[in-house]
Chain length 490, copies 2
């Protein structure tokens, strides 16, 4: 009886599900479609790239559709199609790298293959396949081995692959056909046609430059650091009006930087294949981006540790927090502003070291204030020391972050010289600079000789010492910034 | 006169260099050759892989050399060569993934291509190329777009590429030839032959398994962490006999872990294509390695910060160092031993949680001792607090590292259940375990129900509290370990 009931319930459930199936299917399909639409909208260049591949394919099909072209190339036209499909990469650098690798590898391997076939023919009917076999085996193995070397792997991996491919194909077919030269010529010319179509479409139809992507990525990573710092400040010293949830999402922004190394390496590698474009000259110092990106990543590691303190529910005594709050807040706010200014300077490709250095200087002064605050908040009881340890650690890591911001600024300063950033001759210091005064010592170190590319600039290197208890005027701060960057009154 | 002298000097230099050229060339060449030899010796599997590719190429050449085979396949044999070159990857997983992707994509695209050609023929002579063009454009663009989706990109990227390739080739050639079915069949069969040769050579001739590489890599990364911890201890508390240079090279070992994510992801992805091999079953939990590797990387981030303190020349007062030295030393030594035991347990695929947990327990007790040491070393003057900040931060990060070691141990414990690690029924606790006593509290928490896969084990969950001032005997410690891992006396 119970079994019967069970079976009935199951049956009813089955029919119910069968009834609901069309609507569920519809829901699923619309959800899928919405996902795809959202994915395309996130980066419309993906849609454009897909259409570009379609366009290249249609263009190369003409080798078949147009009678005179088909008459001259015949079935070899398929090599052109193959080339288009394989060479079409998202970025111009990728397409150029693959196209040039493919072209040159085919040329060299084709010539060697023809030579090998001619050599093998001297060895008689029985010896020919053996000699050819030895050639294919040894050159194939050697080229495969070469692909393991990092320097070849990085730039010529695809070329080595095509070398093996073309050499084997020419050498082996040479055994059966006498028209080997015709075959090699047809393969080479169709590959050139396919490659040229790809490269032209890639460069002239909505190009995606790997170099520009790298440039933007590095600037965005610096902005992410700034946002994380801002979020951290709001989370740890919740004096601002933002809700906790909002800032927490900011704090996490640095996460993607932790593992972005491989993307950066790839982009820098592809960017080197690209011709000059937009604001970037032919010999733009692409590898220097990796240095900046490395420092940014180092800084992000510190955020990972800091984040542990934000998320942990270790309670720090409120009176200790309130003592270090002000200098820590200023430190992170000024470092954040400095990072934003650095990112802006990269994005606009304009030097803005006056503003950056002023912020860094402010933030370093806040470190001094923090030290003083720590001095005066020496724990009274033994228990206190244990309780403030997380706070002390947090402050200590924050200081390290400020140091890294300075390193990033120096690296960008050096880079801006190599990359011919524009000088901002009329430095407008942002209004909020005056808000936080240089409360204590502000000492401007002399600029070291080996520091910059412009050795011929002979401006005097003045050491300005702003002493305690005398907040400097804004003009003094600007001068200090100007001295450091040697932009000029002189 | 001076010019003349200059010219003479230059000339003499030129001849000198010309004279030295042969010996320099010889030196350069021998150096190159030695480099190549060293590179091969570093990982002999590279040489073996190169020979394997040569072998596959020679095998597939038989399609041309052997008359009956050439008669049945003809020029299509080149697709087999192409397949061998493109599909031969270093790991079995890579070869299988590419081979299967290529095979299935060719099958599906070939069928669709033949269908498209038949459909287009209904549209008359003029309509045919237009309809074919529309098909090629839209399917090419759609398949290219699909390659951007992370899930497809990860596993079926190559399949999508081959799909576009085959479909375009079949559809476009269909316009010019009537033997399209023969062409599709020949392409498919030669690709199957090439793919099969590759897969067989890859699996049966000195196979390189991506899964095994991943397994070893994760274990080695844990050992690197342990070495770094050991090196750090020797560097920061230089009581041991090792020279500073030796330990410093150890401290840096964690560096490679910081950026190993992409390699791990790739290996885990390829490992899923591999059949069961050696100690790994078919459905080995490959993705779980990524979880462990992620925790190991998080731990390595902390080393990066710690390393900053080792390298910095901040002087910490000697009396403070000497106070925290002992607990910090024990903490890092025990955490290091725990990491080594975890790595060994992964390498041998045997559970050894008794030993691991005992070490972690010791190291956690050392944290308690450190807290007590910090309590008693409360700074007397204000200046002192400032001076000990780096030391406090260092200790604080060390504590975080111990916490991460525990997390890693838990993740490996969970993993060992899923991966069917062997149980060590007769746990031999390593002799040095007795050296560091559980100086203070040692409390064994009850095992949570949702903690492990073996829910059916109904051993009682005893809470053992070892109280202050009473160092437990070794047997008690073993029991505590046994309770936690539910290995059993019960």
């Amino acid at each position: 009886m119970e079994m019967d009931l069970n079976a009935q319930v199951k049956k009813a459930g089955f029919f119910q599900r069968l009834k609901e199936f069309p609507s569920k299917l519809k829901d699923g399909v619309t959800k899928r479609i919405k996902n795809v639409q959202k994915f395309g909208k996130d980066d419309p260049r993906r849609i454009i790239h897909s259409l570009k591949v379609g366009l290249s394919l249609t263009l190369v099909s003409m080798l078949y559709y147009v009678r005179p072209l088909y008459n001259s190339f015949g079935v070899s036209g398929m090599w052109a199609i193959l080339t288009v499909v394989v060479v079409s990469e998202f970025t111009v650098g990728g397409t150029l790298s693959k196209g040039l690798n493919r072209g040159f590898a085919t040329l060299i391997a084709g010539a060697l293959g023809v030579g090998a076939v001619h050599l093998a023919r001297f060895c008689g009917d029985k010896g020919e396949p053996i000699v050819l076999g030895i050639f294919v085996f040894s050159l194939g193995a050697a080229a495969t081995f070469s692909r393991f070397f990092p320097r070849i792997k990085q730039r010529y991996d695809y070329g080595a692959l095509i070398f093996i491919l073309t050499f084997s194909m020419v050498a082996v077919s040479g055994y059966r056909t006498d028209e080997i030269l015709v075959m090699a010529y047809q393969r080479l010319s169709t590959i050139l046609i396919g490659g040229t179509i790809c490269i032209l479409v890639s460069i002239f139809v909505f190009p995606v430059w790997a170099g520009e992507d790298l440039h933007k990525m590095v600037a965005n990573n610096i902005i992410k650091l700034a946002n994380s710092l801002e979020g951290f400040e709001g989370e740890y010293f919740p004096s601002s009006e933002k809700t906790s949830k909002e800032t927490n999402s900011c704090v996490q922004q640095y996460k993607s930087i932790l593992t972005s190394k491989s993307t950066e390496d790839t982009l820098a590698n592809l960017a080197r294949w690209e011709p000059g474009h937009g604001r970037f000259r032919l010999r733009h110092p692409w590898t220097k981006y990796l240095k900046i990106a490395g420092l940014v990543r180092q800084c992000a590691f510190h955020f990972e540790i800091l984040n542990g303190y934000v998320l942990s529910d270790v309670k720090i005594p409120q009176d200790f927090i309130s003592k270090i709050q002000e200098p820590c807040s200023i430190m992170s706010r000024e470092a954040c502003e400095a990072l934003k200014a650095i990112a802006k300077s990269i994005k606009t490709m304009k030097r803005d070291s006056v503003c950056v250095n002023a912020h860094i200087e402010n933030s370093k002064n806040a470190i001094q204030n923090l030290r003083i605050a720590l001095k005066t908040s020496s724990p009274e009881t033994e228990k206190d020391l244990l309780e403030i340890i997380p706070g002390v650690t947090m402050a200590s890591i924050l200081i390290e972050i400020v140091n890294y911001v300075e390193k990033i600024s120096e690296a960008v300063e050096e880079f801006s010289g190599l990359a011919h950033f524009k000088e901002t001759l009329d430095p407008k210091v942002s209004p909020e600079l005056g808000q936080h005064q240089l409360l204590h010592r502000g000492s401007v170190k002399p600029v070291l000789e080996g520091d910059s590319e412009e050795e011929n600039n002979s401006s005097p290197h003045v050491v300005i010492n702003v002493h305690d208890e005398q907040p400097p005027t804004t003009s003094e701060k600007i001068v200090s910034g100007v001295q450091k960057t040697r932009v000029g009154v002189v």
